[in-house]
């Protein structure tokens, strides 16, 4: 290279850097996010991103359901209030298909998009295009008290069946000491009890729709699912389980009042944290149960960062997403807060890291995520993608109503036949109205 060319190239580069730095100084991006431990932790490190790039960050933190309503209103009206939205696996493919999100097809080489776990990448894509980058991913698994299991004379298999779980729950239940053999979600809401029972029903051979989008609540597998769930919870669950969701069960487990809890893998770091949990040193993990039909009852979910199409700052937003969902960020958290507190379930390299894989729940989390397949989530073929949901716009509304019917059954307000008949009617009517 001649000296002239070198000078020209250097000058051009310097000019670009100066210009981008000047641009960045004035740039502020607004991020809408959920209020959970990992997201709050990320907010704490945002200053480091701002220092490195000059891009300031404003956070709008909301409770999950409020956030969903808020960002949906904004994106459907092209409001442009947010430059980055935290959304889940349910919204991403639908919004991507509608052209509401900026495709993440120009991520840098250093970001190494191929390092994202295939299950997560698939769930956050539409027709092969990635629309959101996973900040953390989760499946569900069994968390159990090793001391109570031992006292009951049982040993938890790595891949238990529902029958074993029911027997173990009955053996661990000690009503006199307020110990419930099992704590599960019964609370109404598609993301609460609705998510759990849908994932559970998959392992019983049930499905939401047949290949012609007909509702399937009038089939035997749904009756079996609900009857089994209610029977087990009546025998060994906590009183009022029909109104218990994630938080209620987490509190019960942390206070030593549950023998087993089947829920999000992300809860593993909470129940093993001695600051919050009274039983932190006696927790074991196993895969979510099955019924020998080839499908387990674990789900798949990711909280991911996406750029709405209405933003004026997509370059700065992309820079932030690359920073927040990178391997470097994971290392930053590990360095400051330990490996048990890094955002899990998003990158393959995390599970190849010997420091992380030695964390008690890491391997089981990975195994749970890898065993979840949103494209083949049911025993009989189904037309939808998703495990604890069907990725169609109508699902959230329908499933909220259906889960209310189920919760009414758990609370003894109606019979299982009535609950299923109502669910069938609600779903059929809504699907017909939607033109399926």
């Amino acid at each position: 290279m001649s000296s002239k060319t070198l000078i020209r190239t250097t000058s051009a580069l310097a000019l670009c850097l100066t210009a981008s730095a000047a641009l960045a100084q004035d740039t502020t991006i607004t991020i809408a996010t959920v209020n959970n431990g990992d997201m709050i932790r990320m907010q704490g490190y945002t200053d480091q991103f701002t220092e490195a790039t000059g891009i300031a960050v404003e956070w709008v933190t909301l409770e999950e359901n409020v956030l969903r309503q808020r960002v949906t209103t904004d994106i459907t009206t092209n409001g442009g209030q947010f430059d980055i939205m935290t959304i889940g696996m349910y919204e991403t493919p639908i919004w991507g298909a509608n052209g509401w999100l900026v495709p993440l097809d120009n991520l840098s080489e250093e970001y190494n998009v191929d390092d994202i776990l295939p299950a997560m990448r698939g769930g956050l894509s539409h027709e092969g295009t990635l629309y959101a980058a996973p900040f953390y991913g989760e499946s569900s698994m069994v968390m159990y008290r090793t001391d109570l299991m031992e006292a009951a004379g049982l040993e938890m298999p790595e891949a238990p069946t529902w029958q074993f779980i029911r027997e173990a729950a009955a053996a661990m239940t000690d009503r006199e000491n307020d110990i419930n053999g099992i704590c599960l979600r019964g609370k109404a809401g598609w993301g609460e009890g609705g998510a759990f029972i849908t994932a559970m029903s998959n392992s019983f051979g049930a499905r939401w729709f047949d290949m012609d989008w007909n509702a399937q609540f009038d089939t035997q597998p749904w009756l079996d699912t609900l009857t089994f769930f209610e029977g087990m919870m009546s025998e060994s669950g906590p009183a009022g389980y029909a109104t218990n969701g994630f938080t209620e069960n987490l509190n019960l487990f942390n206070q030593g009042l549950c023998g087993m809890w089947i829920d999000a893998t992300v809860a593993a770091s909470f129940v093993t944290n001695p600051e919050d949990s009274e039983v932190a040193d006696s927790v074991g993990f196993a895969l979510a149960p099955d019924n020998g039909l080839g499908v387990r009852s674990n789900w798949l979910w990711a909280w991911a960062l996406a750029i709405p199409a209405g933003t004026q700052q997509s370059d700065a937003a992309l820079q932030f997403i690359e920073w927040a969902t990178s391997s470097d960020y994971i290392e930053l958290v590990a360095e400051n807060e330990g490996w048990a507190n890094v955002p899990p379930g998003a990158r393959t390299s995390l599970y190849e890291n010997p420091n992380y894989i030695s964390v008690p729940f890491a391997q089981m989390t990975l195994d749970s995520i890898l065993s979840a397949d949103p494209n083949n989530s049911t025993v009989e073929p189904s037309p939808y993608v998703g495990i604890q949901f069907a990725a169609i716009p109508e699902f959230a509304g329908i499933a909220s109503e259906v889960s209310q019917e189920f919760s009414a059954f758990y609370a003894g307000q109606q019979t299982v036949e009535e609950a299923l008949a109502n669910a069938q009617a609600i779903t059929s009517e809504a699907m017909e109205a939607a033109g399926y």
Binding site: V34, G37, V60, R70, T77, T247, F270, D276
Partner: protein
Amino acid sequence: MARAVTTQRKALNTAVAWIIGLLIFFPILWTILTSFKTEADAIANPPVLFAFDWTLENYAEVMERSNYGRFLSNSIIIAGGSTILGIIIAVPAAWSMAFVPSKRTKDILLWMLSTKMLPAVGVLYPIYLLCIQLGVLDNRFALVVILMLINLPIIVWMLYTYFKEIPGEILEAARMDGASLKEEILYVLTPMAVPGIASTLLLNFILAWNEAFWTLNLTSVDAAPLTAFIASYSSPEGLFFAKLSAASTMAIAPILILGWFSQKQLVRGLTFGAVK
């Protein structure tokens, strides 16, 4: 003839009043107490009322994480602005309905109230789109106008009720003495209705302060008031009850203090005309 009240009856009434008062205040007390607990103590079962390790950690963390001052000033501007604007519009409206009623006055009053029966979410999209078109999303002035419009029926109704208690003859006398309409309202009607106007002001300020649908849906950063501040600590996932309680206490403290110092005016206004 006044009814004789026995000492026992008085004691019973007092006891019942205290019990009801404590029951109403208990959730607030519980929130305040929880804000001084650790997250583990906040969810302890059985719950601990006073015997816990008191800590200010939650307040410190909330102050560090959020810009409380910005949320507070937005709340003051939005609640105060919408209340004042509402009063400016409602006083002449209530005056005309109370002193120069037409055949349709009662229908208009009922119609105004009926706008309160529409669920807010039913007009979310039209309002949201309007705000986008006018470029006033996340704007304090837009919220001042919207909250004023939401509370206007209540303001007009309250003022109308108070004005109806004022004898029309007094205003007539003022008119005969040569007072203009403006002078009649400003110098004759308003001073007589001060208790009613004050309680209307206070009540609407509280309503606007607590409004949590439009303030959450139409704001993000610049105009977000204390309702958004509380919402940022609400979480179905994780143990944040103590921090949520600290945020709630910080959000309700200003309005509690205001209510405490103005309770005499509030009670006087709300009972204005109740006894004849």
